[in-house]
């Protein structure tokens, strides 16, 4: 009994001594923080990697590396991502690792041509992570990577933080693939652009400060980008998908004397339920929304102390939400003909037989024909630190 044990131990020890096959020291890795994919001429792909120059980050807390950028943008063209990636690897003395790549930016030309070919690499690669954010941009994705960071040490981190806050629907790589494969829902992507931090784009000031901002959403049909949606509409998408974290809304209201004032609320909750109904040939969706918000600004003369005034504001807000939802759904139906909300999946869950038999195959044709009704209930649950507006005298307020 003892002898084989000792032999085994000897074997183990000798084995451990030979090892370290796949060891990669941290000194020998090049951490990819963001990837940009663009379409190049001759149907080629242009892969750009934002790679962290670790030595530049030395002493993050200390004064930064003399204004120098801590990242390096390397880009290369190739037939496939792998091919380009191999060329990039040859340019860099360290091993490129993808496991911390949290942002994938796709240029609109490539997105319009179809994303499927590039998605395969990221779903297959051992290091690629499914929770990387997928974004599209008007123009070249590479340019986005080049933008200098303002707060973090590299822009990928800034993009990630912005996505995480979910001002607009954030889409991870996994979400995108899920929507792409699932019938009855079409993928979307957040749109990321470089924007000036202050003033107009063509401001003449000599030193223009720019930042990265999520400005809207790219709407896809299958894997192809077909159009852009503005900020307001993409916010509605968030509401409809029950994914809103925080948002705000402003409506204008007429005072009794004819002047107009504005009311701004911060939305704290938006709960949406969508119920499908099949009536003969017609498919109808009833959207019920329950929203709550807090009053943040009130420049009207309405006194919020009065219940009926508050109700009035709530009514106006409800109208506004209804308007926005209808307009967004109409855009999806008419302009894009793309079911970005996933009405199809909702229908599938309720009417699986009808869906499997008829609709699943021709949802693209059916979707523009659907009818949507919206019912909104808005509740204001807070009015901030003051209740009545401090702008007006007591007697001017409408009671």
């Amino acid at each position: 009994m003892r002898k084989p044990l000792i032999l085994l131990l000897a074997l183990i020890i000798s084995l451990f001594l030979t090892g370290c096959w796949s060891r990669v020291e941290l000194n020998d890795v090049a951490i990819v923080t963001a990837t940009a994919l663009d379409r190049a001429e001759n149907n080629k792909l242009q892969v750009s990697l934002q790679i962290l120059k670790v030595k530049m980050t030395k002493g993050i807390s200390e004064k930064g590396g003399g204004g120098e950028n801590a990242t390096l943008i390397v880009s290369e063209k190739g037939e496939t991502i792998m091919e380009a990636y191999q060329v990039i690897q040859k340019k860099i003395p360290r091993m490129v690792i993808f496991s911390h790549n949290r942002v994938i930016v796709v240029g609109d030309q490539l997105a319009r041509a179809g994303l499927s070919p590039v998605l395969d690499f990221f779903s297959r690669h051992r290091e690629a992570r499914g929770n990387s954010y997928l974004l599209v941009t008007k123009g070249e994705g590479k340019e986005i990577l080049k933008a200098p960071p303002n707060f973090e040490i590299f822009t990928a981190e800034e993009i990630r933080e912005e996505e995480k806050a979910r001002y607009l629907d954030s889409v991870t790589f996994r979400d995108f693939v899920f929507r792409l494969l699932e019938k009855g829902i079409e993928p979307i992507c957040t749109q990321l652009q470089i924007v000036p931090l202050s003033g107009q784009k063509n401001d003449a000031s000599d030193k223009k400060e720019t930042g990265l901002a999520v400005v809207g959403a790219g709407i896809f049909h299958h894997d192809k980008l077909i159009g852009w949606m503005k900020r307001q509409d993409s916010e509605v998408l968030l509401w409809l998908k029950n994914r809103m974290k925080r948002s705000s809304m402003t409506v204008s209201m007429q005072n009794k004397d004819g002047s107009t004032g504005k009311v701004s609320v911060q939305l704290s909750k938006a709960k949406t339920s969508i119920r499908p109904r099949i009536q003969g040939e017609k498919i109808q969706f009833d959207i019920t929304m329950h929203m709550t918000g807090e009053l943040f600004e009130n420049t009207t003369k309405l006194s919020i102390k009065e219940i009926q005034n508050l109700n009035k504001i709530q009514q106006v807000l409800e109208q506004e939400v209804k308007k926005r939802v209808t307009s967004t759904v109409n855009k999806l139906k008419k302009q894009f003909k793309s079911d970005a909300v996933g009405f199809g999946t909702i229908l599938h869950r309720k009417y699986k037989k009808e869906w499997n038999e008829t609709y699943s195959k021709r949802w693209d044709q059916e979707f523009p024909k659907i009818e949507v009704t919206t019912d909104v209930q808005f509740k204001i649950n807070g009015t901030g630190r003051v209740n009545d507006s401090t702008l007006w005298e007591e007697e001017q307020l409408e009671k």
């Binding site: 451990f16 290091e127 992570r129 040490i153």
Partner: protein, 501 residues
Amino acid sequence: MAPNQQPDNVAGMLNENLNENLKQFQAVFKNCADIHYRQFELKTGQQGVLIYLSGMVDTDAIDLDMTRQLIESCMTENSTSAEDSARLTENLQHTIQSKLGFTSQVNWNDDFYSSVEQILSGDYALLLDGMAQVLTINAKGLETRAIEEPATEAVIRGPRDGFQESISTNMSLIRRRLMTAQLKMEMVTIGRLTKTEIAITYLEGNAGEDLIAEVKKRIGRIQIDAILESCNIEELIEDNSLSPFPQVMVTERPDKVVGNLLEGRVGIIIDNTPFVIVVPGTFFQMLQSPEDYYQRYIIASAIRLLRLLSVVSSLLLPSLYIALTTYHHEMIPTMLLISIASSRETVPFPAVVEALVMEVAFEGLREAGVRLPRPVGQAVSIVGALVIGQAAVAAGIVSSPLVIVISMTGIASFLFPSFQLGLAFRLLRFPMMIAAATFGLYGILMLLLFMLLHMLSLQSFGTPYMTPLAPFSRGAIKDVITRANRRLMLKQGPHPSKDRS
């Protein structure tokens, strides 16, 4: 040198001639500077000799009690001086027995060798002319230190007395906590030269018969010249001597021994060492401190959880660091990875070498701190802190995250209540680091499985080492991971020490 030399000319029996007897003793104790002969004469004119080892007997007892008793007894003998020697001896025996026996333990001995052994064990011997017997009187007066707080197991709240080197004191420390006749202490002498006294102590009824028999059997089996410390016994009675894990518990605290006796374990007290062995030793028992029972149970439970955490981290932290930084970069959060990477940027060694060097340096410092005299020990720690903590990082030879990891490991390894167990984990950390360097997390898992298999196969005196977790025992479990309330524990019977699967 042949031990226990016996001169050839000495016969085994004593005779009535004082001088011949004395010669026998002098031959045996040749060149023993610490043996003393004190000759005296009784009023009857009878010659006598006292033989004793200085420093081993209580000289006050000799000077005061002994002489006074003898003189008093002889005064009564004086009137009947004419009687023959046999009668005299008989009388003397009687009076000494009745009077001297009151103050100390007295034996009549007619065997020479056994009286020699008595003298060596600290008795003093009285030879009288005309008697073929030796009177040995127990008046042991060993120099001992005072009862102090144990150095290795201090507590905040709890009794502060600790064992010391004298076995009789140690036995009394236990006895005063268990004033019951159920507490048994069986004496054995082991060691051909050291003649060390060993007391096997247990609570009758609580400890299993099998266990007691097994302990006696294993101790009886010991054939050795010298016992210097409890470790000598430990190595001879433990089940698996190839294992790095301690399989008996060693403690300096009487309350801990008593607690374990109550749970049905057996204590082995060894003369000349303050460390008492408790068997069977199990893993979780060694992770317990007596103080757990002296603090409020919620807090004590939290401390036990902390301790479990520290066991795991003292074993795994450096190897996890190696595995994560060289194999599984993706598991480290991005920003943390960047800050580790940037501080590793100038380090010329692979992470394993870096960690191994630092660990060895740390263990070296620790060892130096223990062995060196206290003032120098402080100097060592200053040097260590400066050289390792500051200079190495500043010079970019070692990365600062690693220093943090090593110090956290160090702190974790200080949390072991049992020093012996802590040593085992300190040692196992190194193969773990090599496994991590070779196979990453997979290597850690496999070595951990190997280690667990070994620990689970260990038995200590018939009790599985990892009990009560595996084999699982529902009754005892609440007192392992956490410390259950006393009220809950009242339901728990004596500790099961029988062999279960």
